[in-house]
Symmetry: C2
Subunit: 361 residues, 2 copies
């Protein structure tokens, strides 16, 4: 088990990744909280709740159940969860444990950071992407209509405890979708993690916590390092948006029905890499290695039928842009990305069309 430390502006907290990480919840004193709530999903809790409670040894946690899926990430459910917390006596010294994937983490973090103007919370991420990315850094948010995370906060958790054992019950597609984010962190962090992924990608299976643990810890460290230096999104943290500018547009143009988030980001990384090559920012050999590793993770639903003009139209809606201008995150080489503004729209569209027209084997 690996212990990482986030040193953010607003707080310092530990991120534990590896088998047995759940036990670390005991480092928080139960007695310093009046009541403890676990926000989770039914099926997930049925599969893992008992094991979690055994590891944690707190016997009086009350669960708050929300439906599986993105619809729970809404202000309607903020209202519902806050109401349920109040009904069961949650006060300012209650603790909320967000036990689930990205939806639970984002919703739980938002509720915790706003319930009575803020209570403590702990992230217990149960998907790959949550373990290496979304549960770390304190970003919370809910969707408004189709606008993802339109309403949110930046509020650090007290603790993040990521045990890869829980990944065993993930379906394969969701698991792979998370691996794309691991690859993204490989691109950001450099040759060591990237090569390890090239070597061991095929052995990374949901049930293989032993192999997964050390790799996920490395990938999580990328996020920990970034958010320790930039909790907001003014500067460095934007590198984490690699693949997200196109990725969001792919999700939006398909009304969030075709791709899992990581899959859209995968296409986004491939398109950003193509754009970086067109802009003369990256060598072909490096670009090919990036594209090849992304592709090796597995099949992704196609993008070749999507209207390129429509995708381009959706780009400036990305909330990472300021005043409508796009700040692209483009790879320069494995281990280095650059934020570039002022890329001509025509060049971005050409890169997109190239990726769409490529016959991926």
């Amino acid at each position: 088990m690996k212990r990482l430390r986030v040193r953010a502006e607003s707080n310092t907290y530990d991120v534990l990744v590896g088998r047995g990480a759940w036990r670390a919840l005991r480092t928080l004193k139960r007695s310093s909280y009046t009541t403890v709530f676990v926000l989770t999903e039914k099926g997930l809790w049925a599969a893992w709740g008992k094991k979690f409670e055994r590891a944690v040894q707190w016997k009086d946690c009350r669960t708050v159940i929300v439906p599986n899926g993105e619809t729970s990430k809404s202000l309607k459910f903020v209202e519902r969860v806050a109401g349920e917390l109040l009904a069961h006596g949650a006060d300012r010294r209650s603790l909320l444990i967000a036990f689930g994937g990205g939806v639970i983490g984002d919703l739980g973090g938002f509720v915790a950071s706003t319930y009575m103007r803020g209570i403590d919370y702990v992230q217990v991420p149960t998907t790959v992407v949550a373990q290496v990315d979304s549960a770390i850094g304190g970003k919370t948010g809910v969707n408004v209509g189709l606008a993802k995370n339109l309403v949110g906060t930046i509020a650090p958790p007290r603790l993040v405890i990521a045990d890869p054992t829980v990944l065993a019950t993930l379906d394969k597609r969701t698991f792979r979708s998370g691996l794309y984010e691991v690859v993204k962190h490989g691109i950001l962090s450099g040759h060591r993690l990237f090569r390890q992924l090239e070597t061991s990608l095929d052995t990374l299976l949901p049930s293989n916590a032993r192999n997964l643990g050390p790799l996920l810890a490395q990938a999580a460290k990328v996020k920990v390092d970034v958010v320790s230096r930039d909790e907001g999104e003014a500067g460095l943290r934007r590198v984490l948006n690699l693949g997200h500018t196109f990725g969001h547009a792919f999700e939006e143009v398909t009304r969030y029905r075709r791709f899992l988030h990581g899959e859209a980001v995968a296409w986004g990384m491939i398109a950003a890499t193509a754009l970086a090559r067109r802009a003369g920012l990256i060598k072909s050999t490096e670009a090919s290695r990036i594209t090849a590793l992304v592709r090796r993770v597995g099949e992704i639903p196609p993008i070749n039928d999507l209207g390129a003009e429509r995708v381009m139209d959706l780009l400036p809606h990305d909330k990472k842009t300021v005043g409508g201008r796009i700040h692209w995150v483009l790879p320069e080489r494995i281990g280095k990305v650059r934020i570039v503004a002022g890329i001509p729209a025509a060049m971005a569209e050409s890169a997109l069309r190239e990726v769409q027209q490529t016959r991926w084997s």
Copy 2:
């Protein structure tokens, strides 16, 4: 015009109180914002919008209108307002101006502090209570069902500009309701403001901005001083809850239909003063002066028909309590209150019954 400065943990900002305060918006550079939105109510904006725009001299502000009244202070309206902001191109560098009373200020502050995880906002309070209290300090919040401010944030505005001229169109009852909060600040701050209120209370009328300005500035300073020392609610800031423990219960037991907030706080202050006397914390002479000044503001809907047991039952639901225990804010003398825990419930109930049974002339 009086310039006060809030030096809070998270930020430093100015509070301007007095005739002409709106002009100070110009000290913020219009060019540092992509777009500017004014959250307000229809009737209020019809009466004052033009004057505001003339004072501010920014010609391209877009209004976002919400219905008058407490129902707008909900997650439903957070969703609606955020959606409208997005539809009209608000991004991370947009500015939101909350132009209205407590509801607009609390809703606007909450939306601003969570829209794309936080944009700048300015408070333009247009009621007495907003000008001396709620617009200052960065507390935002919306209701969940009957639970007031159950979901909220602490997010300082960039600026608070309070011009008493706008009070001219307030109905008298709302105006008086705000004066109770001014009296509260008089009790907290000491003899200077308290005596001024005793002397000039009868000349304080909605249309008398000249008289109101200096007094409101003094009352606002009480809030500024408190939140400069305690932005959260762990310690000092709790003194502002004088009258609120009983006050909230009075509002709740009447399902928020009988009292304006300030009126409930007025009864709450009278009851808290009665309790302080029973607890031997305050001399009768001082207690009588407090009670007399509160009563002099004007008629308040009665509390004598409310079930005392029911009111008592509602007390521990107050979110200012931790673990269910009540921290009372009780006056010791004019200029000093004390936070007291461990008051026997029977003593509080006796104080309540005493106030209920008094024949207020």
